[in-house]
């Protein structure tokens, strides 16, 4: 039973389209993340979200928006897709309790290709 699952695993779409990537975790974690791994293989944080606050990396365009219907889900919506959005997107989650922090658990990634 996958701890952090993302769908779809592969997504090919045209420039200008709007798309979403879904993420679900069954670990009971309270904090979820989205990371982007670009063509240079850097793993860049995009968002950090728990039920109290959303932290956005200021370099992320506002075409990207996280949506969390509940604690177990953090979906990524992307509007007006551009060629440079092509990347592998990783969802992750962890438990943060006071000063205690557990490691991140990552999903398998969603490869987005914009044509």
């Amino acid at each position: 039973d996958t701890a952090v699952s993302q769908t779809p695993k592969y997504l090919v779409t045209q420039m200008g389209n709007d798309k979403s990537i879904k993420c679900e975790q069954n670990l009971g974690h309270d904090t979820m993340y989205w990371y982007k791994q670009d063509s240079k293989k850097f793993l860049k944080i995009m968002f950090s979200y728990n039920n109290k606050e959303l932290i956005i990396n200021e370099t992320v365009p506002n075409r990207f928006s996280p949506k969390s219907p509940d604690k177990a889900h953090l979906n990524l919506h992307i509007n007006s897709l551009e060629l440079g959005d092509s990347a592998v997107y990783f969802c992750a989650s962890r438990r943060i309790s006071g000063s205690e922090r557990e490691e991140l658990f990552f999903g398998e990634g969603s490869r987005l290709t914009v044509l």
């Binding site: 904090t31 793993l43 922090r101 990552f106 990634g109």
Partner: protein, 110 residues
């Protein structure tokens, strides 16, 4: 502005020898550091971590060393095995945000 840097994009070692992967950081707010391992077409998986109040943490073949004054940490793998061949990411944690370096590809030759 890269807060975490892994200056060696790749490293090749012989099976049985020591692998040393290095990581430098600039953010003084990092109080926790983690190493992740990534195989192709998979998500990163946790390997080992260290709190900023420690200078060493060991787990089997893996040891992480932290030098806070130099803002430097390293991961030692002894002995290296072919199955260790992967990309290793170093991460610095400042509360809610975990920032990673660009990764180092380790190749362990039989």
């Amino acid at each position: 502005d890269q807060q975490v840097k892994q200056n060696s994009p790749s490293l090749s070692v012989q099976e049985g020898r020591i692998s040393i992967l290095n990581c430098d950081y600039t953010n003084s707010m990092f109080d926790y550091f983690l190493w992740y391992k990534k195989y192709p077409a998979e998500g990163p998986t946790f390997l080992i971590s260290i709190s900023s109040i420690k200078d060493k943490n060991e787990d089997g073949r893996f040891t992480v060393f932290l030098n806070k004054s130099a803002k430097h940490l390293s991961l030692h793998i002894v002995p290296s095995q072919p199955g260790d061949s992967a990309v290793y990411f170093c991460g610095g944690d400042a509360g809610n945000m975990l920032t990673f370096g660009g990764g180092t590809r380790l190749m362990v030759k039989p």
